[in-house]
């Protein structure tokens, strides 16, 4: 029972930041047909910036709630700056190219950004444990869980709901869906596709950076965290169905829980249980669990 609770909570915590990364990835793929490898760098930038600023903030002895503001602000800064640069200076020129080439271009950007991270923050780990301590812990089923981790689950839930609302109930969301469905017809109907692309990309980037920034206080921020998260986020997106938001949510939960289960029950398969699931899902549902509606072209 205790073990089940631990697996569930660990899994959901893991799922919640995976969801933040994967949902951006999947929406960007749905809208722009770009599988953005550089998403992993946005995550890493978010984590580094937040960890550095939080460390400095608490060192200066400023009020504790500031740490939480920093998480949001650094995610926004990273997402807007990097998102603008990558979309305007790179992807803009590649939208009519083969989708494999675009993946490779984002892979190149990812490689370059990995070194930029090393240049800015060096190889030493960053710690920003204070926000976790600030929130304390709760007893569940006789076990202690950090409130910070639990808040991560809540935030992801709220995020998923508001994204769903924004897509289904607002004009902007409907415009986005129209672009996903058919880019050319949307443009003919007067939707500013260029703007939709840019806004989607920046929003996705902010979410990835938020995943990193939110996670930063619970880990030691080290070089290479971007690599790890991006391949797992790929798996999440593929499991859920590329371009599908509920798919990203379900995919994140499946991956999160199965990885937590592997860690606690069978540590030797922890590294690749995710890919086994991904391969398994693809064998039975080639396009993922939730296939987004696609226009049939004749």
């Amino acid at each position: 029972m205790q073990l089940a609770a631990v697996i569930l909570v660990d899994g959901l915590v893991y799922a919640s930041y995976l969801f933040m990364v994967a949902v951006g990835l999947t929406v960007i793929f749905g809208v722009q047909r770009v599988l953005n490898t550089a998403h992993g760098s946005f995550f890493a930038f978010g984590a580094y910036l937040a960890a550095m600023l939080i460390g400095a903030w608490y060192k200066a002895g400023w009020p504790a709630y500031g740490g939480f503001l920093i998480i949001v602000v650094s995610a926004a800064v990273v997402g807007i700056v990097l998102g603008l640069i990558i979309e305007r200076c790179l992807l803009k020129y590649l939208y009519d190219r083969d989708e494999h080439i675009v993946v490779l271009a984002t892979f190149a950007a990812f490689l370059a950004l990995e070194d930029v991270i090393l240049l800015i923050w060096g190889t030493d780990p960053y710690y920003a444990i204070q926000p976790v301590q600030e929130l304390g812990a709760t007893q569940i089923a006789g076990l202690k869980f950090d409130n910070y981790n639990l808040s991560m689950i809540a935030i992801s839930g709220v995020l998923a709901l508001s994204l769903w609302y924004a897509l289904r109930r607002t004009t902007w969301g409907k415009m986005l869906l129209a672009v996903i469905y058919d880019r050319e017809v949307s443009r003919a109907m007067g939707i500013n596709v260029t703007a939709v692309f840019l806004i989607t990309f920046i929003l996705g980037s902010i979410l990835a950076a938020l995943g990193g920034a939110y996670l930063a206080p619970t880990i030691s921020v080290l070089p290479g965290i971007g690599v790890e998260v991006i391949v797992i986020a790929f798996a999440v997106v593929v499991i859920g169905g590329m371009g599908s938001i509920p798919g990203a949510l379900i995919g994140a939960v499946i991956v999160g829980i199965s990885r937590a289960a592997a860690v606690h029950l069978l540590p030797s398969i922890e590294l690749f249980v995710i890919y086994i699931i991904m391969a398994g899902v693809l064998i039975f549902r080639p396009e993922g669990l939730f296939v987004p509606v696609k226009a049939r072209r004749i």
Binding site: R97, A235, S268
Partner: protein
């Protein structure tokens, strides 16, 4: 000109002879770069075979590693012979690709690319976690024998170099002839319109499967060669997904123009990488990424297109 002796075959043969002759002149480190270019070039050649059908795999490190580990197994358990090691590498990668091919041949586009990556990451995880296979430290390969002949020190490197050139030449000519055959010509048909291909009485699935196995064999051969060259096989530099990314990089860099292009592409890749690593070890990824972006932006059809452009300029 007869079918067996067209310009590409002659060109490949002349290059092979020239490269062998060069062995007397070039320094050891250059030999090392050439060997690595042959290894990566072979994998890129495999990817080229797939790419002609519009497919790109982001997981060919799977077969690269399978080949390398197959060769280690042969050397340690059965026979320490370079030819046997290549055979073991080919069997390992070929058999794996034959099995996975039944599944993968149904996929196209980005799904094909990512499913390949998933399988390669499964292998990476297995290798990294298995103590018997050296875990993350990997396994070493000692200098192989050639039909019982033993070479030591620098001579052994030279022996591997000649061995690599002969086999690379054989494989490249074989791939070139394959691409000109009916089955090879179907590549473009698979990319352009599978339904029409099926109506003509061919099976698109089978065509893709054959190509997939060929590409895996080439990647396995590349892996064996890389293992012999470097003297060690380990999961991070053989099976990780970024390794697959590098292979795709070389393929794009080379372009689909010609079999020979992949080796030129691989050589350019090695040079950029070695220089970047030597002059700014902290920035080499930045340099590689930048170079890749420049190529995608300004040389969309790869290095071979420069050759074609030059030829056209001379003709007019």
């Amino acid at each position: 000109m007869s079918r067996l002796a067209d310009r590409t075959v002659i060109g490949l043969s002349i290059s092979a002879v020239v490269l062998m002759a060069l062995a007397a002149l070039i320094p050891n480190w250059m030999l090392f770069i050439f060997l690595q270019s042959f290894a990566r070039g072979a994998v890129a050649l495999g990817l080229l075979v797939l790419w002609r059908s519009g497919l790109i795999s982001f997981g060919h490190a799977l077969y690269f590693a399978a080949g390398a580990y197959g060769a280690v197994f042969m050397q340690r358990m059965i026979a320490n012979d370079a030819f046997a090691m290549v055979a073991a590498g080919l069997i390992a990668s070929g058999a794996l690709a034959f099995l996975l091919g039944f599944l993968l041949r149904q996929y196209r586009g980005i799904f094909f690319a990512l499913l390949n990556m998933a399988f390669s990451m499964v292998l990476w995880g297995l290798l990294a976690k298995t103590e018997a296979l050296g875990s993350t430290d990997g396994l070493s390969i000692v200098a192989p024998r050639f039909f019982g002949m033993v070479f030591a020190g620098d001579q052994s490197k030279l022996a591997i170099y000649f061995f690599a050139i002969v086999l690379t030449w054989m494989f490249s000519v074989a791939v070139h002839l394959y691409m000109k055959s009916t089955l090879g010509a179907m590549s473009t048909a698979v990319r352009e319109n599978e339904i029409r291909l099926e109506y003509l009485g061919y099976s698109a699935h089978r065509a893709v499967h054959v190509k997939y196995v060929i590409s895996a064999l080439l990647a396995g051969f590349g892996g064996v060669l890389m293992g012999m060259t470097v003297g060690i096989v380990d999961p991070d530099s053989m099976a990780y997904w970024t390794v697959s990314g590098e292979f795709v990089f070389i393929t794009i860099l080379s372009g689909t123009g010609n079999v020979a292009a992949t080796y030129i592409g691989a050589f350019v890749f090695e040079i950029i990488r070695s220089l970047a690593f030597q002059y700014s070890p902290k920035l080499w990824q930045l340099i590689m990424g930048g170079a890749l972006l420049l190529i995608i932006m300004f040389l969309p059809n790869g290095l071979w297109s420069v050759m074609a452009r030059l030829r056209k300029a001379r003709a007019s």
